[in-house]
């Protein structure tokens, strides 16, 4: 993270280029002097070089990694003709993303619609899990009795593979759509419950002592101490949960069908369009990364360490 920040700073320094403008506005004598010194030896020139060097230094390892990955992919594609190589996949992706929102009926919709539908399901299931899981976590953390009561249930249910809940969902809810939302709900609730509870239990005794000495009301204790102290833990739980939810939606949609990125993968498998499957893998990965980064950004805002 810090390396990336450093390069953006140096980049903005380069882009602002105040010194360059100043240099050109100077008197003719100074300008001629500047002309005599080679450009790269002036102050601003040196800074441009330094910034560029930093940028390359920071970007080199990740770029090398990606290059290595693509090369490996090309190699595999070369030896196994059924797998499309990077160039072929890129071509297919350009075609696919040039019209992401076409709609030829429920079985043939653009990639954009599929992504949005998956995000919608994740949003519903995950949102419901947050609404129930976070308060539940608070209560479990605050009341030892409830903690002991819920502990065996959570311990048993948490390791269950999310898809094992799908038949129950289909049975009770009778429809594929709510069943896949239910799977998202049940799989993303645990990280939020557990992290929130851990956060409540780990509130420094000092803060609670402050509350006791001040005789704060329960409302003030919650708003001024409990909630802000636990918020970073809650956000960690939310971040883990959204990761799980996005992981699970692909699998759930493969089983339930409908419009969504998971079903799309399955559909393209049936069409034997492997390039699209590879594109879907990248799309799922990138969307997951974006979701996580978004929540990291929010979490950073509420971190006081």
């Amino acid at each position: 993270m810090s390396a990336i920040n450093a390069t953006t700073e140096s980049l903005s320094e380069i882009l602002s280029g105040d010194d360059v403008v100043l240099a050109s506005k100077e008197s003719p004598a100074a300008a001629s002097r500047a002309r005599r010194t080679p450009l790269l030896e002036t102050e601003s020139g040196k800074r441009v070089i330094e910034g560029a060097v930093n940028l390359v230094k920071a970007a080199f390892p990740p770029l090398l990694g990606i290059l290595f990955f693509v090369a490996l992919w090309a190699l595999v594609a070369n030896t196994n003709k059924s797998i499309p190589g990077p160039v072929e996949t890129w071509g297919a992706a350009v075609v696919l993303f040039s019209d992401p929102f076409y709609n030829n009926g429920p079985n043939d919709m653009g990639i954009g619609w599929n992504i949005l539908n998956s995000l919608y399901r994740v949003g519903l299931g995950f949102g419901a899990a947050a609404i129930i899981g976070i308060p539940l976590g608070f209560m479990i953390g605050r009341f030892q009795f409830l903690n002991q009561m819920m502990s065996p249930i959570i311990s048993i249910l948490r390791p269950v593979s999310p898809l094992a809940w799908l038949p129950i969902g289909l049975l009770v809810l009778q429809k594929a759509e709510p069943a896949s939302i239910w799977v998202i709900f049940i799989s993303s609730i645990w990280p939020m419950v557990l992290n929130t509870a851990a956060g409540v239990q780990r509130i420094p005794q000092d803060y609670l002592n402050v509350a006791r000495v001040l005789n704060l009301s329960e409302f003030k204790v919650f708003t001024k101490i409990l909630f802000p102290a636990v918020l970073p833990y809650v956000l960690t739980g939310v971040r883990l949960a959204i990761g799980v939810a996005w992981l699970v939606i692909v699998a759930a949609e493969m089983l339930t069908g409908g419009v969504g990125i998971g079903f799309w993968v399955w559909d393209e498998w049936n069409n034997l369009n492997v390039a699209h499957i590879i594109i879907a893998i990248f799309v799922v990965g990138i969307v997951g990364l974006l979701l996580e980064q978004l929540l990291m950004l929010i979490a950073k805002r509420f971190s006081y360490d």
């Binding site: 000092d206 803060y207 002592n209 402050v210 000495v213 001040l214 005789n215 704060l216 003030k220 001024k224």
Partner: protein, 265 residues
């Protein structure tokens, strides 16, 4: 005349996994209004436990604690505490940290403007007006501790309790804050009970030094009156024979009669 803070036969027994642990026994102490008391002793002697009893954060197993003839039951803002590690809420600014306390104590009787004025006054008292909008993470350790003192003082407590308030600070900052505390206490005429493990701090600041024996079952070993005239000057005291005499009496108690538990064993 009755003493302001009265501790009679107080004892504290903790129930631990290994059975009962007697931390304090037979504590008898009277503190007058406006007096500055230092509690000193080796680590583990229960001096913080005694402070917590007065604060009401712990309930004495036995005995009675009174403040202005009223029994101490549970913590309350009339016995405000300056904690060792400042205990500021990191999501509130210096101003908001103090305001939270002020609002709680005076919120029923005073307008918002009055509450804000009180908060500003408290921060001004500790010389932090310029940092009032800063979060605790943005200011130095010494400044945080000053906000903690401002918060405690702003509540206009009957007794100010301080638990090694300067223990985590470097020597220079500590000396500076000790000088400021002396001025503030002189100006506000506060009654103070302060836990410390610093002999110089105890002699410099207090009217009486309560020296505790080693735990378990610690009690008050000796009480030393510090008759040095006020206001006290750190530099002048460095050459004062009476200061050195008092200092060596405390050291004598701590290192000759109350060996460190480890060394004694």
């Amino acid at each position: 005349m009755q003493s302001y803070v009265q501790i009679e036969n107080a004892s504290m027994v903790f129930s631990t996994k290994k059975g009962k642990f007697t931390a304090l026994t037979d504590i008898n102490l009277n503190v007058d209004q406006g007096e500055f008391i230092a509690l000193i002793g080796h680590s583990g002697c229960g001096k913080s436990t005694l402070l917590n009893l007065v604060a009401g954060l712990l309930d004495a197993t036995d005995g009675v604690l009174l403040l202005a003839n009223k029994e101490i039951k549970g913590p309350g803002p009339e016995r405000s505490v300056v904690f060792q590690n400042h205990s500021l809420l990191p999501w509130l600014t210096a101003f908001e940290n103090v305001y939270l306390a002020v609002e709680k104590v005076f919120g029923d009787k005073e307008t918002k403007a009055q509450l804000k004025a009180r908060t500003h006054a408290a921060l001004e008292l500790v010389g932090l007006t310029h940092a009032s909008a800063k979060l605790p993470g943005e200011i130095s350790g010494g400044m945080k501790q000053r906000v903690g003192i401002a918060r405690a003082l702003a509540m206009e407590p009957k007794v100010l309790l301080m638990d090694e308030p300067f223990g985590a600070l470097d020597a220079l900052t500590r000396a500076h804050l000790q000088d400021e505390l002396m001025k503030i206490v002189a100006a506000t005429k506060s009654t103070v009970i302060m836990v410390t493990h610093d002999v110089d701090e105890a002699v410099l600041l207090s009217d009486r030094i309560v020296m505790m024996t080693n735990g378990p079952a610690a009690t008050i070993g000796e009480i030393l009156s510090v008759d040095l005239p006020r206001p006290r000057e750190r530099l002048a005291l460095a050459h004062d024979p009476q200061y050195h005499e008092l200092r060596s009496q405390v050291l004598e108690f701590l290192y000759s009669r109350q060996m460190r538990p480890k060394e004694a064993a």
